[in-house]
């Protein structure tokens, strides 16, 4: 009896609810619709329309035509894609190393999903913090877990026992390891300014002192915030470039360059395994965008909007109950992530990819040094302006 009442049921229930909400209601649909958005936005950039006439695929269940009572504008396309991945033949070639072949897609998808646990996607909702795991080493947790994502690609290329996947995976491995260095180092100025690695504290600091990258959004910026804006801008640029490299997105697309390597490290994969790689890449994009939003753009904070407990913001808005502002904060966070995802897609369809030696030079000679110097610059400004 004592044991049962000592189990923190409420905590477990809230954690489960937040996890289910985050993964199944927010992130997985977002991943599918990011694929759809990429197809549409890339099409519009290339002077054509993307998929704009998909109906609901009920012809699988025996209906004559797919159902489309009014024009959905192609929004049924991700559902059709999901159905395709489920029904396709899952072909495992005879020449692969079976254990690692089956393990690799999981290792590509899982770290991206696990890193989402530490991100505060909202402020508060009925007294509960809107973050699945409010750990006080949140930033280190994210860097550590996203490093595991490299193993998915290494094992995929290695186990495929084939030329092109091998080449793609060794390129990707070296690329991801090189850019992890500058990614970690370029986030250190943010740590120095906010004084904590806990992502919740970083967002709270930005709520009080204005967004790091846009100091006028929030409190009135003093001379110190304006001066700190320079190293923060450099940190943002290096962090974003490293984030592009970490998620294997153009211009760092070499591991999966369609023109050179057939399909790179996921050549030998079909159906659901390929879907896991594909969705894992987009989930990593979403996790990366969420991290950039938390570190540089103020997380769920919008100037003038109170947080989920009813504090802050403009005074007359306190009439509306606090939990509605909790939902508004979640919406603000998702909107910022969507803007960053659009920028990811926009950059992909603008730039040509880097050559391999240019890529490694950029990672080791330029970004690494710039991130290091930036740390000293931030520390100097912080020390001399207090």
């Amino acid at each position: 009896m004592d044991f049962i009442s000592s189990i923190p049921w409420e905590l477990i229930a809230w954690s489960l609810a937040k996890t289910i909400f985050l993964i199944f209601i927010v992130v997985l649909p977002m991943v599918s619709y990011t694929v759809y958005a990429e197809r549409r936005v890339s099409a519009l950039i290339q002077d054509r329309l993307g998929p704009n006439r998909t109906g609901m695929p009920i012809s699988l269940l025996g209906a004559k035509k797919d159902w489309q009572p009014f024009s959905l504008g192609g929004l049924g396309q991700p559902i059709a894609d999901a159905v395709k991945f489920l029904l396709k033949e899952d072909f495992v070639p005879a020449h692969v190393n079976t254990i690692y072949f089956w393990m690799a897609p999981c290792l590509a998808m899982m770290p991206a999903l696990i890193t989402l646990a530490a991100i505060p996607f909202g402020s508060e909702f009925f007294g509960n913090k809107m973050v699945v795991a409010d750990i006080n080493v949140g930033l280190l947790f994210m860097f550590a877990i996203s490093s595991i994502g490299v193993f998915g690609i290494v094992l995929a290329g290695w186990s495929s026992n084939s030329k092109y996947p091998f080449l793609g995976s060794i390129r990707s491995t070296s690329q991801m390891i090189s850019y992890e260095l500058s990614m970690g180092l370029s986030a250190v100025p943010v740590l120095l300014i906010c004084g904590s690695t806990s992502l919740g504290h970083i967002v709270d600091y930005q709520g009080q002192h204005g967004w790091l990258l846009a100091p006028f959004m929030g409190a009135m910026p003093g001379a110190r915030e304006i001066l700190l804006w320079i190293p923060v801008l450099i940190a943002f640029i290096t962090f974003s470039i490293s984030m592009f490299a970490e998620t294997n997105r153009l211009p760092f697309d070499l591991p999966e360059s369609e023109q050179e390597l057939v399909a790179g490290y996921h050549t030998e994969y079909s159906s659901m395994k390929f879907a896991l790689f594909f969705l894992g890449e987009y989930t990593a994009m979403i996790a990366g965008s969420a991290l950039v939003v938390v570190l540089f753009f103020g997380g769920w904070h919008l100037p003038g909007v109170p947080d989920g407990a009813g504090h802050g913001g403009l005074a007359f808005l306190h009439i509306i109950p606090a939990w509605i502002w909790g939902l508004v904060n979640i919406g603000v966070f998702l909107a910022k992530v969507v803007v960053l995802l659009f920028i990811f897609i926009w950059v992909r369809w603008t730039l040509p990819r880097f050559r391999y030696d240019q890529l490694m030079k950029l990672g080791w000679l330029y970004l690494f040094e710039i991130a290091l110097v930036n740390i000293f610059l931030t520390a100097g400004i912080l020390a001399f302006t207090k």
């Binding site: 002077d47 329309l49 640029i237 926009w346 369809w349 730039l351």
Partner: protein, 176 residues
């Protein structure tokens, strides 16, 4: 022997690459905005918008046989189109026109004339080579069927699709 490739000297702006990234981003966002605002009109949404009403005169659609204004089928089964057809889509079996017919002077007509539309490449060589102005490519491009047998157009179907054409050269005038 080491050959040093002459590379251009880059300005500092080109070296850091970021200004040209931003310039490129502006170009692509301009394309996006022009598509969204409807300024770029390059896309024809196919089943809703078709260009059947304003196709060019020389458009090569499906080949058909024509009859002239006297009701005579123009084809004399010379088999020139059968021999020139690159994918060999045309199959002709000629026969004699019986002596009691009005057009007995012509002497030859096709007993069977079949074009396999799956093989046809719409090149128009049969129309070019025909000495009798009997075979013409019309403007119909969406030839579909549910079986392979359906896609072989026989003589009746070809005359049905072709119809009657006036103003063609009459080589078989009985007076001359």
């Amino acid at each position: 022997m080491a050959y040093v490739v002459p590379r251009p000297n880059l300005t500092w702006k080109e070296k850091i690459y970021l200004p040209s990234i931003v310039a490129g981003l502006f170009i692509t966002i301009k394309h996006l905005k022009q598509m969204l605002s409807g300024q770029t009109k390059v896309v024809m949404q196919y089943p809703e918008e078709k260009w059947d009403s304003h196709m060019p005169d020389h458009y090569r659609g499906a080949p058909t046989l024509v009859k002239d204004e006297h009701g005579r089928e123009r084809c004399v089964a010379c088999q020139l189109c059968e021999f020139i057809c690159p994918p060999r889509a045309i199959t002709i079996k000629p026969e004699e026109i019986p002596a009691e017919s009005k057009f007995a002077k012509v002497e030859k007509r096709p007993k069977e004339f079949e074009i396999d539309m799956i093989r046809c490449i719409y090149c128009g060589l049969c129309e070019e080579v025909c000495p009798e102005q009997a075979i013409f490519l019309r403007k119909d491009y969406a030839i579909t069927g549910t079986t392979r047998a359906e896609m072989k157009h026989d003589k009746a179907k070809l005359y049905e699709l072709g119809g009657v054409m006036d103003g063609l050269v009459n080589k078989w005038n009985p007076k001359k």
